[in-house]
């Protein structure tokens, strides 16, 4: 987020500890400043908060319901509890709920938090509804496996207002039937997609995956522990985007860009993101 360090400070109390944050900072920013770790799913440092997953909720004195820390601005004098019974309960339930309907096996961070809060997705009615979507493999660049989708809206934001302004995908349907979709679920090549891969970069669950990674996983040969990451600057044009090339067995298997890089904020275009594919 933008740095406003010199502006007026706001002091709030988090779990008994006073912290000062710049005006405009969120409760989540204040938690970070206080060294309190907070689970997040739909929040992304480069994205406008949509506050839909609710895993980051905290208890705020004077508020009847819990509040999402990722979007709620810190206000002078707020008293916040991040580890109360109610907070732990709601966080646990969000993680449990997601694991009952979504394949979260490749969402590592989510899994760690689920363990932390003691989520037990097995206590639900057997045979309940799940996402139940086929893997969409429509090109050689990336795949969409909506069985793994937690509907965090991050890809939609990245494709739309927050980065790409392409609007190739949206949320369609309603309730438990809501899905990320192109218009009429047309294939990506038929959609507005320009293959910038920014959606892949923000997806927290690996529902969106580089085709290279997908193929290696299918072959049971995806070995992050054997991968090296090389920093470089994209050579396609003069903008100067930072690239991180992930290499396994001397082959580039995926390409990212750091969220905190001032040129890209984690976003790239098709050439930077997938150009190595053609090489």
């Amino acid at each position: 987020m933008s740095s406003v360090a010199t502006e007026t400070a706001v002091t709030i109390r988090i779990d008994g500890q006073e912290v000062a944050v710049p005006e405009g900072a969120t409760i989540l920013d204040a938690c970070d400043a206080a060294g309190v770790e907070t689970p997040t799913i739909c929040y992304g440092p480069t994205l406008t908060p949509v506050n839909v997953c609710r895993v980051c909720v905290v208890e705020l004195d004077g508020s009847r319901a819990l509040v999402p820390s990722c979007s709620r601005p810190a206000e002078e004098g707020m008293v916040v509890h991040t580890d109360s019974e109610r907070v732990r309960h709601s966080r646990k339930m969000v993680l449990e709920f997601l694991a009952t309907g979504v394949d979260v096996s490749q969402a590592d961070e989510l899994g760690q938090w689920a363990e932390h809060y003691g989520a037990d997705p097995d206590r639900y009615v057997p045979g309940g509804q799940t996402m139940d979507e086929p893997v969409r493999v429509q090109d050689n660049l990336y795949i969409r496996d909506y069985d793994k989708c937690v509907l965090c809206y991050r890809c939609v934001e990245a494709c739309g207002d927050d980065a790409q302004h392409t609007y190739a995908i949206s949320v369609a349907g309603r309730g438990f039937g809501a899905r990320i979709s192109t218009e009429f679920d047309v294939t990506l090549p038929d959609s507005a997609c320009v293959y910038c891969g920014n959606c892949v970069a923000v997806c927290p669950t690996n529902a969106l995956q580089f085709k290279t990674e997908f193929d290696l996983r299918q072959a049971d040969d995806w070995r992050p522990e054997d991968q090296t990451v090389t920093q470089t600057v994209c050579s396609y044009c003069g903008v100067g985007c930072n690239l991180e090339l992930h290499v396994q067995d001397n082959q580039i298997v995926k390409c990212t860009s750091p969220d905190d890089h001032d040129v890209t904020s984690g976003n790239l275009c098709i050439k930077g993101r997938f150009g190595w594919n053609y090489v």
């Binding site: 997601l98 509907l151 309730g175 047309v186």
Partner: protein, 592 residues
């Protein structure tokens, strides 16, 4: 801030190959003529999606989709492309909007027959909707299950969605309307209902219409708002928020782009009051909105009415046209020198669009997903501008307050719940219908007024699906905000659905859980998944025929707490309330 990719050449809107047919193009042109098409300026293209709320024609998206649905019977890929291109909306986003609404279809139905929507909610289930379905299907009708159609007093209810023909409600034509309390001199909100000719401004004036507007102009904005505050009027749409505070907040915002919205989306199962009021006293809605517009300094008025209310929509539209022609709407309202006018927008089958911020998104042409609050509508409402949104019953109360003053208004009701309240009685009750009684009337007195329960009283659902069940021991409970709150109940939108001891309550509660599952917008995890899992637990209970197992009871409580605590909006907050009250009362879960 890092530079954004604004104006990126790849940001052009992209449309697939599907083109609208001639008929589809005509349906689009009927709402947005080609001359008004979104102008394609390179720097503007990129801001039409997402949060650029006021840009362009996007607020016409839902009306265009309605037009396609109505003329063609569904929204085809070509139709969608045509609509999206005309309005400058990305097709994926237009698809996201189209798939949000129950009355819009995005798959080819393969026929052009009308669709008959049959209500499956409690009052209609008790009135034999299954037999009606059988006979309709025998006649070859295309029957589609629907949540409450807002006609519970004349259950079982139907709404016929026309293809190329007007939508219609068969009971409207058969009905010889009169209020059960017709002629009762104590009626206030309902005084004119059934007496006045709802299609005539002159008739409305003969019944004292537009005296309140004249008085309000005379008094001035501050005095009007002071009277509303002193009257203690609170919202009748469910949340009971003080109306005076809301109006004051909007009035204090700098103008001129401020809005007044009448929330006529009425979809809480068991509620039909707003339909009756809008059908039989539409000018009162228009007049009270106008007073709200002048008092808050808001020139823009909107009525959002549910799509299943064709007669109420037609009568409101006619009333607006007559008021405009008489100078009671427009650039100089009744010589006040202030501007106020009203646009009508139809919903398309989504309970959640009655939630105020979802309603704003729906009007703006976005998915009807509620927004997190704060910020509140009084500062960030429709098009992110200051907005006073009220239920029509709330608004009509304003007329008497302005004319009689707050003291007279407070002469009925209780100190903390002044005035009267509308109640929608349905189910196993002698004379189902709309009633108006002073706050403080007991539940038993209200049931007696409506002819008493038929059969042995089992339970009463107060406040609709979002409300709670109470048992026969609650008959002495005064119907006030304070007493119901203390009893852990709610008046909500004034629903009183009566069940006798022969009704299969498990089926009723499973249906309530199904309603929330169907109507959740799906945005936040606690509600999207919680309503689904809650329904699954209840279906399991129903199938088992056994008492509710302790671990299932714990699961229901755990899910309820997360929905109450962590959901974004009131739908999630209340999705477990009727279920849990039914369990607490022993209406379900005991075995059988």
């Amino acid at each position: 801030m890092p530079p954004r990719l604004r104006g990126h050449p790849l940001a052009d809107l992209h449309f697939g190959d599907d083109q609208p047919t001639e008929a589809e193009q005509a349906a689009i042109d009927a709402i947005v003529p080609p001359a008004d098409a979104a102008t394609v300026v390179e720097t503007e293209r990129i801001v039409r999606g997402g949060r650029s709320r006021r840009h362009g024609l996007r607020h016409l998206l839902l009306p265009v989709l309605h037009s396609l649905q109505h003329e063609i019977g569904w929204i085809s890929p070509g139709g969608l492309n045509g609509a999206a291109e005309r309005l400058g909306v990305p097709p994926a986003e237009a698809y996201g909007v189209a798939t949000f609404y129950e009355l819009l279809r995005t798959t080819d139905p393969g026929h052009r027959d009308d669709v008959v929507h049959l209500c499956v909610d409690p009052a209609c289930a008790m009135a034999g909707n299954n037999d009606l379905r059988t006979s309709l299907e025998a006649e070859g009708a295309r029957v589609h299950d629907s949540p409450c159609l807002g006609q519970c007093e004349r259950a079982p209810a139907l709404f016929v969605q026309g293809v190329g023909r007007p939508d219609r409600v068969p009971s409207d034509d058969e009905e010889d309307f009169h209020l059960p309390q017709a002629g009762d001199p104590s009626l206030r909100v309902l005084r004119r209902v059934g007496e006045v000719d709802p299609t005539s401004l002159d008739s409305y004036r003969d019944h004292g219409g537009y005296e309140a507007l004249a008085a309000a102009i005379e008094m001035g904005s501050d005095a009007v708002i002071a009277d509303i505050s002193d009257s203690g009027l609170s919202g009748r749409g469910g949340a009971a928020f003080p109306t005076g505070i809301k109006w004051r907040a909007v009035a204090d915002e700098p103008g001129p782009d401020k809005h007044v919205v009448a929330n006529c989306d009425e979809s809480e199962p068991g509620t039909f009051k707003d339909r009756i009021v809008c059908e039989h006293d539409p000018f009162a809605v228009i007049e009270s909105m106008t007073i709200a517009g002048l008092a808050t300094g808001s020139p823009h008025g909107w009525i959002y009415i549910r799509g299943e209310y064709p007669r109420a929509t037609a009568r409101l539209e006619s009333a607006i046209a007559q008021a405009r022609a008489a100078g009671l709407l427009g650039d100089d309202v009744a010589g006040s020198g202030q501007r106020f006018d009203i646009e009508v927008r139809r919903g398309a089958g989504a309970y959640i669009c009655g939630e105020e911020t979802a309603l704003f998104n729906s009007i703006e042409g976005f998915r009807g997903e509620p927004r997190n609050k704060p910020p509140f509508p009084t500062t960030h409402g429709l098009f992110s501008q200051p907005t006073a949104i009220n239920n029509p019953e709330t608004l009509i109360n304003v007329l008497d307050i302005v004319i009689e003053g707050p003291d007279a208004y407070r002469s009925v009701g209780t100190e903390r719940s002044p005035g009267t309240r509308l109640f929608c009685l349905s189910g196993r009750i002698g004379v189902p219908g709309l009633y108006e009684v002073p706050f403080g009337t007991t539940l038993g007195e209200l049931l007696d007024l409506a002819g008493g329960p038929t059969g042995e009283l089992g339970s009463v659902l107060l406040g609709g699906a979002a409300g709670v069940f109470v048992g026969p021991d609650a008959l002495d409970m005064p119907l006030t905000l304070e007493d119901t709150r203390e009893a852990g109940a709610t008046l909500g939108s004034g629903v009183v659905t009566v069940f006798d001891d022969t009704v299969d309550m498990e089926a009723v509660v499973v249906r309530i859980a199904e309603f929330f599952r169907d109507e959740s917008c799906g945005q936040c995890v606690p509600c999207r998944v919680g309503t689904q899992r809650q329904h699954e637990v209840l279906v399991e209970l129903q199938a088992s025929g056994r008492p509710l197992a302790p671990e299932r009871s714990e699961l229901i409580d755990d899910m309820a707490l997360a929905m109450v605590d962590a959901s974004i909006c009131g739908l999630g907050h209340t999705a477990a309330s009727a279920v849990r009250s039914a369990l607490a009362l022993g209406l379900i879960g005991n075995s059988s």
